[in-house]
Every structure is written in C-alpha cells, then in structure tokens.
C-alpha cells in the first residue's frame, strides 16, 4: 500500500485482506467508454504472475486471495490494477482505450510514416477522434483548441465567414513577420493539402501534431511551422459497421460592446428626427417624430426611451447547425474500406445567412502480394450565402431606442423601414434588414482531394512508397447588390454584380525509398525521398457596378463598361530529402535529416537551398538498469534536437514590379500604367530558422500520470516580409530579407486519472505554454516597423507589439488638459504590450461513469493586449457609454492636471477647476485616443462541454440491429471571464491574421449549445 502514497488524490479500492485464502474470482473486462466486453484481454495475479485471458465474451476466471493485486491489460488500452477485497468474488475491470501506453504510442511522423513515439527526438502530440469531436466542431482545427501545449487557435476575421468561420492556427508562436505565413502544413494521409477547414472531423481517426520545424524537418520549408498529420479512418477486417450520427446545435451572439441608453438622436443636445447619431437630448419617454413623412402622408413616430433590453440583439437570430453523418466500414483479408457522407446545414445568426456542406469520403486499401495499394477520395461541396459586413456595422451607431424589429418590412413602400423613407439618409446607418436582403455574397465551392499510394516490399530490408495526391478546389462566387432607384445619392443604390471563379489545383508526388537493416542490438533505417509540388491557380472576375434592372444580376444588363480581371499563378517546388535513424536496443535513438529544396519563386541564383537536422532520444527507464521496472516511474524519456530550416514565404511573381491600369484607365485607346507600390527586390533569398528543442516525457504509476515538458528555442533570421516604409520613399511597402525573431517556449503537459474506481474514471489534463518571443533586429538598422495598423515589430520587444496613441500626461501619468478642458493626443505611440498572450493554458476534464461521459475543456490565455476599432466609431456616433458618463455636461476630467508653467517648462498641478466640455467634439476626440480603445486580452473560458450517455449493452442485447447507441448534449463558449478593461469582444477573435485586433466589421462572437445522437449498426 505504501507505494500508493502519491500525487493522486484518491486511492483505488482499498482493503486489507484478513484472510489470505485463495478462492476463484470471475468477472469481465469491459471497454470503459462503450461498455463492450474485451475478448483476449490479459489478467495477471501479481502475487504469482499467473496469467489468464478473457474468453470470447470477455469473461475470465482466476484464483486469487483477498489483498491480491490483479492487473488487467489489453492492447491499445491502459492497464488497470485492482485489489481484491474480501467481500467480492466477481471483479469487473473497465479499461480505457483512449490512453496509450507511453512506451507503445505510435504517431504519424513526417511523410505519413508511422513511428514509435519513443524514437522521436522531438515533440509530438496525438489527438484522438474522441477528443477532437468533443465540441462537435465543423472545422477540425477548432477541435484542437487548447488541447495541445504550444498550439493556439484563433477565430479569424468573421467578416468573410459568418457561417463558416476561418480559423488561424499557430504552433509555437510566430516565426515570420509575415503573419499569413505562420501556418503549419496540413497533411492528410500523407498528402500535403493547403486547407483542412472543410474536412469532416468525424472522418479523422487521429491527428498527430508535430510541433515544430524539428518534428517536421522532412517537410522542409512547409514544415517550418510544424505539421498536422491527419489520419483518416480505415475499415477494419471483419463485420462491416454502419454508423449514423446527428448533431443539432443552436448559436447566439454574445459579448456585444456595451452601448449607452441615456441619450437619443440629435446633435448638440437637440432632437433631430432625421439624425442617426445619439447626440440629442436625454430620453424622456415622450413620443417623437422619426424621420420625414411617409408617401401616404403618415408621420412615423417613436418612443423616445431606451427599452430595458438591448435592441441591437433584434438584428440577430438564433443560428442553427445540423450535422448528419453516415459511415460504413469493413474489410476482409486483403482489402478494407471506409465510406462516409456528411451533410452540414447552417443557418447563421444574421437573418438570411446560410451555408451548407456535403462531403463524401471513400478510403480503401488492397494488398496484392508484396504490393500494397491504398486510395482515398474526398469530395466536398460547400455553399455559402451571406450578407457582407454592413448590417452590424450600421446597427451599433444607431440610437438605443431604434426598434429594429419594426425595420424588417422594408419592402412596403409606405413603411418607415423602406430605404426610400428610412428616417436617416446617412449611408453609414442604413436599415440593417434592408442591407441584409439587398447585399448578398454567394459562393459554391467544390473540393476534390484524393491520393493513390503504392507500397512495395522489394526485400525484407528495402521497400518503396510512391504516393500521388491531388487537391483541387473550384469556387464560383457571386456578389450582388440589388438596384434601388432614388434621385438622392444617399438613398440610391446602384445594382451591381460580381461573378468570380477561383480555381486551385495542387499535385503532390512523393517517392520514398526505405532501407532497414539491424545488426544485433543496433537498428538502422535510411529513408531517401523526392517531392514534387505543382500549384496552379486561376482567378477570374467579371461584373458591373451599374445594372439596369432590379433583381436581374447579369453584367450583360448594364450601362457603362464591363469590370473584370483575371490572374494566373503557378508555383513549383522540388525537394529531395533523407532521414537516417540509428537505434540501440530500442532505447537510444539518433536521427539525422537533410533536405534540399528548389522553388520557382526565387531567382535562379537563390532558388536552391539545403538544410540539415539532428535529433536524439533516450528511454532512460529502459536504458538505465536501476530504473527498470520501477513501480513509480514506469516510463521516462529525454530527447533533444537541432535543425535549421530554409523557408521561402514569398508569393510568386514578387521579384519584379508589375504595372497595372488604375484611375479609370484605359480610356478608349489611351492607356496609362502605374507601378505597384510595393518596392520589389529581385535578390530575395530563403530565410532560415534555427530551432533547438529539449524535452522529457515521463509516465508514473503504470502511466496513470503522464508528464511532458519541452523547451524550445527558435531563431529566424533574414526574414522575408513586406515591410511598411515611409511613403516618402515613393513606395508604401518593400519586400525585404531582414529581421530576426527569436522564440523561447516552454511547454508543459500533465495528464492523469484523478479517480479510477470500478467503472468510474476521472481524467484531468492540463497544458501550459509560455512563449517569450523577441524581435532582435529589423530591416536596415531600424528600431521598429509597423506590421498592421497598431501592430508593430520593435527591436527588443515581443512581436507583435501593440502601440497606440495616448494622452499627453504628466510624469505621474495624469492626463493634461488645456485651459478649455481639452486633452492633447501625443503623436508618439505608446507601447502597451504583446498582442499574442504569452501564457496559454488548457484544462480538460473527462469523466466516464458507466455509460455516461462528461468532457469539459477550459482555456485561459493571459498577458496579452488587444485593440478594438469598434469603439472609436461608437464614440463618434455617441452610442458608447463613456460619452454619457458625465451626462453630456461639462465635467472635470478625472485625475487630470493643468499646466501652470510654460510650454517649455511645464508645472503640472491637479485640475480642480477647468471643465471639459463633454460634447460631441470632445468625445469624438477621446475616441481617437487609441489608448482608450485598447484592453488586456486575458480570458478564461469554458470552451467545450459535452455530456454523453451510451445506452447500456444489456438494453441493446435484446435486438441485433443496433450495436451501440448514445446521445448527448454539447456546448461551446458557455462562459467566459474577460479582463475588466475588455468590453469590446472576444479576445480570441482576430482580424486580418493579426492577433489582438478587433475590427468594426466583425460581428460579435457566438456561443453554441445543442444535442447529438450516435447509433452504430
């Protein structure tokens, strides 16, 4: 018993045997999750090492005495040890399949080759199908959020994908100043693809996250940011299974930026029926005219009072997502198959927004003697029909008493909601429901992704793989604005249409030769390969901004000229690589890699580059005799690696400056070309990232408690990025090969079963990441560069750094006001801090009890800053609460000072007399002080909650059709705690690939809840 004095909170079944009498014990070994019995499981009585196996129905019998420890094990399941108590003659053991024995974990390494985790000199994390789908996500990337140390997921730019959100993923921070070029490589069944956002997460067997350049060394440049190795499901030999699942979820917006509810429309304190800005008088409950008289002579009115509820919410509806999945799988001695179809149907939170996705996958394999063939085909058809960013953008600048519900019947020519009668003719504040209906963006996207793989075992020591993959997307898009004729330019809407076609095709081919030879305890493996990549894309758009007829969207029915453009892009790359791994006695490993890349986007002189890598791992619990078979430390490994990776983040055709015709050119026969305003650089070279990693992986108490730690140092130098430069150079940006960024990263993962008793298991997982990145140098000896708006790279600071304009303050930080109570905005921007939270934590809790499982995923990110663009607009429109804080009356700016000295020798004294005006001009200026709209981005949220109930076996045993059935409840973002300074939105949302940046175009974030049903036949 003493050996159990441990970290674990509760002990296993405890009892002290009084009678050491041997008796016959029987029971079953059962899968913890599904309740299925496990035939062929091993049961060992530790006292005498006697072992028995379970029979076909999972039953066993064994002789044992009270106090004996029985251990139950089964391949792919974690071993369970139970102590026999005096009162029991039957003992059922519940084994969990989701936890792998550390010593036996197999991961998908680079090139899709299965590797023993023990031989990896780098970090890799395996995410199971169950964990990935806990939140019933639509995009597999979302299912990874907060589950892997060092991996960060953000919702990107809700403007383009309100029903189909884009996701930004970062592994171990950013290595490139070029924000869009920090994505990892996605590899589906060995084939690199540009995007996995529309892959059916249910088709995924597991994802191996290869965290850094070291792990993904064989992918070279593309692997510099790590790799997500996605393995899709395969059929199993034996009886075919059919699985049906349905998930229905509902979503609502939340975290709207607060608005004031004291003052209504007008200017300068005076009511104006045609004004949308809230600079009018205080709400008084009276009925006032709203807008001008309608065509039928009726004067619309409105109650001049803010309702108790937030009217802005009426712009949104409850979104609904329906997922239906059906899969078949099976196989025989020589072949396997897996077939799935999925339909996803989304109704967005903005009325009228909808999208759908139908995907089908067929994975098969067949063996012909020494030739193994496998093939996958995945077809996805995705449609989207959404409104652009107008409605929300218009809603939050309008007064609090505006009854949005009444604005829906805008088609009625006598309605006050009709855009020709709408109370204001301001283009920035149109009827949001009119905008929703009148402006539509649609897109139909077809994706085909497939591969053919041939594996041939020439000899026992030599085999070869040839794999060719195709990824092709074709998107047809259309953006339409319906014509609305009005003689006033403010109300008139020109009919427009823009038809687009976007085709992308990637062909990827790998030839890999594998050599394997063992000499006694020494193992040797050499892999040599070649990769060919061909990316082709073509974009075409045709349109007109002056259509003649309402409801007819064809550029042919236009006045004036046809708008249109086309572009073609080609990218080619050729890589050759090798990996040599030597092992000693299966506990000491050494790996050497090298890769030579040639890419089409650089000049001939610079386009070929080579880079090496080295790594080692040592399983010390096996290599050091004294540690062998230790009851506490059951597995221990240390690893280290170094590699250098060449990387080219340049887009094709960036070496020269291309001219184009703008400003209306050509005018008939008159042409006028102007250059691109990015200064070209024909001498761009590859950038190099050096990456060092050390780490350890420990398993305690037969791997009941697992601990992993890694320390990573990466150094990217000579970065290729588009640097903003002073416009007085003539150009606005320049492509450079400069700048050095280092990352020091600590990753810790702890997971273990807190409670494991009979059929109850509670597993807690915790991961922690600290990213300390520093900009070492930037271009041309400069101290700082602006990357995107308020996001900077500053030497010696974290990247990206938030810098904002601030008030003129005295040395104590008090705001200086002038004799009229006005503040001064200091031109030089004040650095606030990093926009990427340096501390990230994930906490998962999974409880299994009989058929019930409860999974929860918590997430916290701390230490970062964010900036919101929404607030300045709300200040200007007078809808922000700050503008009403002093009742729009003159007030003494809190904690301000006045200068009683001279401009050159200021003497600041506490301001007790100078009143600030508190009118629109004053608050408009305050809104432009960027410090007022920056906040700490700290948050803690319950990201996912899933409660599932599997029907007991006994209940299903009475019939032969349904083998398993379960249903459950699921929710995401159920609660969030934000830093008190952040009233702007979800700190996780980001805009234009920039962390910590909230745009006024983004709609508020959503929270989701729903239920699901799963049946296996």
């Amino acid at each position: 018993m003493n050996k159990k004095a441990t970290l674990i909170i509760l002990l296993l079944t405890i009892s002290t045997g009084l009678f050491a009498q041997v008796r016959m014990i029987s029971g079953k070994v059962i899968d913890q999750k599904t309740g299925v019995t496990l035939p062929g499981a091993t049961v060992i009585r530790n006292a005498n090492k006697e072992a028995v196996s379970t029979d076909a129905s999972g039953k066993y019998t064994i002789y044992a005495a009270t106090g004996d420890l029985l251990s139950f094990s089964y391949t792919g399941y974690s071993t369970v040890e139970l102590t026999l108590t005096a009162d029991k003659n039957t003992l059922n053991a519940y084994l969990d399949g989701s936890v792998n024995q550390l010593s036996e974990v197999e991961v998908t390494g680079a090139l899709g080759i299965k590797r023993q985790a023990r031989e990896l000199g780098t970090s890799a994390t395996l995410i199971s199908n169950e964990s990935l789908n806990q939140g019933k996500v639509l995009n597999p990337l979302q299912g990874l959020a907060s589950k892997v140390a060092g991996l960060r997921i953000n919702m990107n730019d809700a403007t383009t994908g309100k029903t189909d959100q884009l996701v930004q993923i970062r592994l171990r921070g950013s290595r490139s100043f070029n924000d869009a070029k920090n994505n990892p490589i996605y590899v589906v069944d060995g084939v690199p693809v540009p995007d996995i956002g529309r892959l059916n997460p249910n088709d995924i067997e597991n994802i191996t996250v290869l965290k850094g350049a070291n792990a993904a060394a064989l992918y070279g440049s593309e692997g510099v940011n790590g790799a997500l190795m996605i393995t899709t499901k395969k059929g199993q030999r034996g009886r075919g299974t059919v699985n049906y699942a349905n998930t229905t979820t509902f979503s609502n917006v939340y975290l709207l930026p607060p608005a004031q509810t004291q003052f209504g429309q007008g200017q300068n304190g005076v009511y104006a029926p045609t004004e949308y800005e809230s600079w009018g008088p205080a709400f008084d409950g009276s009925t006032k005219d709203l807008g001008l008289k309608l065509p039928n002579g009726v004067q619309p009115t409105a109650l001049f009072a803010a309702p108790s509820k937030d009217n802005r919410l009426d712009m949104f509806q409850t979104g609904r997502t329906l997922q239906n999945d059906l899969s078949f799988s099976g196989g025989d001695e020589n072949s396997t198959y897996f077939f799935s179809v999925q339909n996803v149907n989304i109704k967005g939170v903005i009325p009228g927004d909808k999208s759908s996705r139908t995907g089908a996958r067929f994975n098969g394999s067949r063996t012909f003697g020494k030739l193994n063939t496998s093939y996958n085909v995945n077809y996805i058809s995705a449609n989207r029909n959404t409104t652009p960013d107008g409605p929300w953008y218009s809603t939050y600048v309008q007064p609090a008493n505006l009854d949005l519900k009444s604005l829906k019947n805008w088609r009625d020519p006598n309605s006050a909601a009709n855009p020709l009668n709408y109370y204001t003719d301001a283009t920035a504040a149109k009827n949001p429901f009119f905008l929703m209906d009148n402006n539509r963006n649609t897109a139909d996207q077809q994706t085909i992704n497939g591969k053919i793989q041939l594996d041939y075992d020439f000899t026992p020591w030599f085999s070869a793989i040839y794999r060719i993959g195709l990824y092709s997307t074709s998107e047809e898009s259309r953006a339409t604005t319906n014509k609305l004729a009005s003689p006033s330019g403010n109300r008139n809407v020109n009919g427009s249409v823009n038809d687009g076609s976007n085709d992308f095709r990637r062909i990827n081919s790998d030839l890999i030769l594998n050599f394997k030879k063992d000499f006694g305890k020494f193992t040797n493996r050499l892999l040599v390969g070649q990769n060919i990549r061909m990316d082709d894309s073509k974009l075409i758009s045709v349109g007109s901004a002056n259509l003649l007829f309402p409801d007819l969207f064809n550029p042919g029915s236009r006045a004036g000229e046809l708008d249109g453009a086309a572009s073609i892009t080609k990218y080619r790359a050729l890589g050759t690589y090798f990996e040599y791994t030597a092992g000693y006695n299966n506990y000491l490993f050494f790996t050497l890699t090298g890769r030579n890349d040639m890419v089409s986007v650089l000049s001939k002189e610079n386009r070929a580059y080579f880079y090496p890598g080295v790594s080692t791992s040592f399983v010390f619990t096996e290599g050091i005799k004294a540690l062998k078979d230790n009851r506490v430390l059951s597995f221990g490994k240390v690893f280290a690696s170094y590699n250098k990776t060449g990387n080219v983040t340049l887009d094709p055709y960036s070496l020269n400056n291309a001219y184009s015709q703008i400003n209306g050119f050509p005018f008939g026969g008159l042409v006028g070309f102007t250059p691109n305003l990015t200064s070209p650089n024909p001498n761009i070279k590859p950038e190099f990232v050096k990456s060092y990693e050390v780490g350890t992986q420990l398993g305690f108490f037969n791997d009941r408690l697992n601990f992993e730690a890694a320390y990573v140092y990466s150094d990217s130098d000579g970065q290729i990025f588009d640097a903003p430069i002073s416009s007085s150079t003539g150009y606005n940006t320049t492509i450079v090969n400069a700048g050095r960024l280092t990352n020091k990263i600590i990753e810790l993962t702890l997971s273990g079963d807190v409670l494991r008793k009979d059929n109850f298991r509670w597993n807690l997982g915790f991961n922690f990441t600290h990213i300390n990145n520093k900009v070492k140098t930037i271009f041309g000896g400069q101290e700082e560069f602006r990357m995107f708006r308020q996001a900077y790279a500053v030497v010696g600071q974290s990247y990206p750094l938030l810098k904002v304009s601030d008030y003129l303050r005295d040395e104590q930080g008090r705001v200086v006001v002038d004799s009229k109570g006005n503040t001064t905005t200091v031109a030089d921007s004040a650095p606030l801090g990093t926009m990427v939270p340096p501390y990230q934590m994930g906490l998962s809790s999974v409880i299994h009890f009989k058929g019930i499982s409860i999974g929860a995923q918590f997430d916290a990110r701390l230490g970062g800053w964010l900036y919101s663009e929404v607030v300045p607009r709300m200040y200007t429109a007078g809808t922000h609460p700050a503008t009403a804080e002093y009742g729009r009356q003159p007030f003494i700016f809190p904690n301000s000072v006045v200068n009683t000295g001279t401009a050159d020798q200021p003497v600041y004294v506490q301001n007790t007399t100078v009143m600030s005006k508190g009118d629109k001009a004053f608050w408009d200026t305050q809104g432009k002080v960027q410090r007022n709209t920056a906040a700490k981005s700290d948050f803690f949220k319950l990201r996912e909650l899933n409660i599932n109930y599997a029907l007991p076996k006994a209940l299903l045993a009475k019939q032969k059709v349904i083998r398993e059935a379960s249903f459950g409840l699921v929710g995401t973002n159920l609660f969030i705690v934000r830093h008190k300074s952040n009233t702007y939105g979800d700190p996780e949302s980001l805009y234009n690939q920039t962390d910590g940046y909230l745009s006024f175009r983004q709609i508020p974030p959503t929270r989701m809840f729903g239920f699901n049903l799963n049946v296996t036949f």
């Binding site: 007085s728 150079t729 629109k920």
Partner: protein, 504 residues
C-alpha cells in the same frame, strides 16, 4: 509479382523524370507588365491622371471647406466632422484619415520612374514633364506639411527614413526642378515629342514653358510675406529671361483623356460632387455653399451666382460651416445645391458641364490673377487692372456667364480695381481670385487666406477655439509609424498651431 514491380516503377517514374530547370522556370508574371514592357507613352498618362485626380478631388475637397467655399446641410451635421473640427489627429489617421501625403509621394514616384527611364532613353520631353510635375507636388506638400523629405525621398530603399528638409529649401529646390524640366522640354527634338501621351498640352512646348513659369510665379507669390525678396527678384529675372511668359487667355492646364459615362471612368470632379451613373453624388446631397460666399457673390451682384447654385424660391441660401446644430433652415431642401446641367435644361453650368468635361488642374484665370498680383507688387511689367479684368472675364467664361455681362459687372465700384484705394487693390484682386477659384483650386484659395488673411472667411463653428484656424496638416500616422524620428523632429505640427514657413 514482376507485373506489380512494373506498375510501381511506372507510376513512380511518371513525375520524377521532369527537367528540373524548366520545371522551375514559371516565375514570369503572366498578370501584369513589368517595367521593360512599358514604353514611356504608356506610363505618362497614368501619372498625370493620378496628379489631377488627387488635386481636384481629395485636396480640393479638404481645402474647399477651409477656404470658406463649402459647408454641409443640417442632415449632414455629422459628416466631414474632422474637417469641421480641425481634428488633425483624425485627419492624419491611416484608417479614416485623408491620405494626401501618401498619395502625393506615390504619384511623385510615378514621375520619378518615368524620369529615370526617360534619362536612360534620352527622352528629355518626358523627363521635363516629370520634373515640372514633381515640382508641382513638392510645392503643394510644403503648402500642406511644411518640412518634407526632398533629396532623400523617392530613392527606393536607399533611404528608408528620408530626412526632412526645411519647407523653404524644398520650395527653392522645387522651383529649380521646374526650371530644369522647362529646359529639358525646350531642348527636346521633334521626334522626342510625346504627342497624345501628354494628355495636358499634347506636346505643346510653348504651353509647358508657360505652365512652368506660372507655377514658379505661384511659388514666388506665395512667399510674398516671407521676407525673401532677394530670392524672389532673382527668380523673377529667370522667368523674364526665359521669355515664354505665363498662361494667358484660354490657356487652362486641364485634361480630357476620353471620359465615358461609366462608374470610375467619368470626370472624377463630376462623379464625386455632382452625379454618379444613376443618381446625385453623396456630396451633391450633403454639400452646400457657405452663406458667406453666397453673400459675397450677392453683394457684388455677381452673375456667376445663378450659374453656380440653385435658387430656393427665387433666392440663394447657404449654410454655416461647422454648424453643430441640426437646424431646419439649413436642411438640404431649404438651401442652394450646386447647379448642374440636370437643373439647367441640360446646359452646362459654372462647375458642372458634362460627365466628360475637362478636368482643371490650373485655370487660366488663376494665372491671370497671379499676374495681377505680380504686377501690383511690381514684379512684372503691365497693369494689374488688365490682368485682373482678364481674370474675371476668364472666370465668367469658365463659369458659363455671358461675356456681355462683364462690362456692367466690372463697372461696379465694388469690382472695378481702379475704384479701390491703392492699399486695397491687392485685397480686391484676392477677393476676385477667391471667387474665381471657387471649388476648382481651393487649396490655392486656402493658401491665400493663410498668407494674407483675406477674404475674411468666418471660422468653423466647431473650431476648437474662436481664433484657431487650420494652418497645416499633421504628419500622417503612416509617417509617424515608419519615419518617427524624422517626423518627430519637425516641431509642433498641430493643425491650428504649426505654420508653413511662408506664413509669417
């Protein structure tokens, strides 16, 4: 078994046996021509249109507010708020600001690249035009931002943080640049003439010389109060020595590239301020003349008034610039909008003639008023009254007022230059210049106001203080972010505090 090997080898060989070099040679841009494809005549029109568009739309709009020409209707009380409040921080913003700096330097780059190419090709006419136009832009940059980069500007990435030079120095260098440009054009041979690619003067050397001289005169007049007399005299002598004179009657600096009635292809002044393809432009709905300019025209019984604006029930009604109140008497329907052909039986009006009207970069009337002032100051020979009267007549002509009405108008004591006391003659010249430049070259009018303080334009009712007037723009946010040290060295750049060097 053998067959299986063959299948494998065949499949693997398919893609592995490509020629490496050819395979990678796909980086020639198929989407846009690079410099080597583009002859100068395909580039010059792009640069010239870029200049004219920026001057007549973006810069002219801001200055029209600050020169006392424009205000907004009460419905648009919240519009052009940064202009009305002289909010320099908002104007300098990258996000919602007015990017005059960026646009101007980008256009300067277009000329720089043309100039470099022309020097390589020995095409002096092109490099001459590029230099004169660069001079134009640098002078305006100084008029708006005072100290700006000159020598270190436009050197690609050689100077990433170009040094600023004193506004006065940049003025002098710009004038020299124009002089050089004029000489290059003059020296160009017949086969070096750009012809139609010169969308302003169609390769007329004489007109380019006159334009160059007029532009220099404008730069010198601007320094009238700057105690720089020796320099002015020396430069005036150069102009006289050159001998081509200044732009005269009917000689507008304007372009008509072939506008068509299609969105983005119309005359941009028309499209922005009068009519889009289907409806009145937003500006036409929201903008109104100020009551001040209406009163001025009215006071002089000026026939241009009816040609410029619509009457409301027989009289003309303007607005108050920066009025913070939503005042019913200044609502759109109660105030005089800009008049165009639609409101004039299809006939051209003072500012709006047709979607394909010529876009005016500098009117002949401006040149004539510049000459009137120069004559008044004794810098050139000739009578200020002659130039003054010609200027008014040219303005009448441009603003579609019958030539016959000039005499009556000019005979009024309030108009006739000889009717003014000698000390007030300049005031009268500037007043008439202001009335002629109305909405066309508003920056010049704003600069005259900053230089001389007349006409007595009322201040914005939203001005931060009753006496605070816009004197300049702050350095843009983009510049503060990319060239912080240099832009930070230039002293107080607040809109109502920092003065342009010539503004004494």
């Amino acid at each position: 078994m053998k067959k299986n090997i063959k299948i494998f080898v065949f499949a693997a060989g398919l893609f592995s046996l490509t020629s490496c070099e050819k395979f990678l040679d796909v980086n020639d841009n198929p989407n846009g021509p690079t410099e080597q494809y583009l002859i100068l005549s395909a580039r010059l029109p792009g640069a010239l249109i870029s200049t004219i568009n920026q001057e007549t739309v973006q810069i002219n709009q801001l200055a029209a507010f600050w020169a006392g020409y424009w205000g907004t209707t009460s419905e648009a009380t919240n519009k052009f708020y940064k202009e009305k409040t002289y909010n320099g921080v908002a104007i300098r913003g990258t996000r919602d600001g007015i990017q005059i700096w960026e646009g101007t330097y980008n256009t300067l780059l277009y000329y720089q690249l043309i100039k470099e190419q022309a020097q390589k090709e020995n095409a002096p006419f092109y490099s001459g035009i590029a230099k004169i136009m660069q001079g134009w832009h640098f002078l305006h940059l100084v008029d708006i931002y005072n100290n700006v980069p000159f020598d270190e500007a436009l050197n690609r990435t050689l100077y990433l943080q170009p040094k600023y030079e004193d506004g006065k120095t940049v003025y002098e260098k710009s004038v020299s640049l124009i002089t050089e440009g004029m000489a290059e054009i003059k020296g160009a041979s017949g086969d070096q003439n750009p012809g139609k690619a010169d969308i302003i003067f169609s390769g007329d050397k004489q007109l380019w010389a006159k334009f160059g001289n007029t532009l220099k005169l404008r730069a010198l007049i601007r320094q009238s109060q700057a105690n720089n007399d020796a320099y002015i005299t020396a430069e005036m002598d150069k102009i006289k020595l050159e001998g081509s004179g200044f732009l005269g009657l009917g000689q507008h600096v304007a372009t008509k590239p072939g506008y068509i009635n299609s969105k983005g292809k119309m005359n941009p002044f028309w499209e922005n301020n009068y009519r889009g393809v289907n409806a009145a432009a937003t500006n036409h709905v929201d903008l109104r003349p100020t009551q001040y300019i209406i009163d001025k025209y009215k006071g002089l019984d000026d026939p241009r008034l009816a040609s410029l604006y619509l009457s409301i029930g027989g009289s003309f009604k303007g607005v108050l610039f920066g009025n913070p109140n939503v005042d019913a008497q200044y609502a759109a329907k109660s105030t005089s909008a800009f008049k165009g052909p639609t409101e004039n039986d299809g006939k051209p009006t003072g500012l709006f003639k047709s979607f394909d009207q010529a876009l005016i970069l500098m009117g002949s009337f401006e040149s004539l008023f510049l000459q009137a002032e120069a004559a008044n100051r004794g810098w050139i020979s000739g009578s200020d009254q002659t130039f003054y009267e010609q200027g008014i007549a040219e303005s009448f002509k441009y603003m579609e007022v019958a030539a016959a009405s000039f005499t009556t108008y000019n005979e009024q004591a309030t108009v006739k230059l000889s009717g003014a006391a000698p000390a007030d003659r300049l005031k009268r010249i500037i007043e008439q210049k202001w009335l002629a430049l109305n909405s066309i070259s508003s920056l010049e009018a704003w600069s005259d106001y900053r230089r001389l303080g007349f006409p007595e334009i009322p201040n914005s009712l939203l001005a931060p203080a009753p006496t605070a007037r816009p004197l300049r723009l702050m350095y843009p946010e983009s510049e503060r972010q990319t060239n912080a040290v240099e832009s930070g060295k230039q002293g107080n750049d607040e809109v109502t505090v920092g003065k342009i060097w010539w503004n004494k």
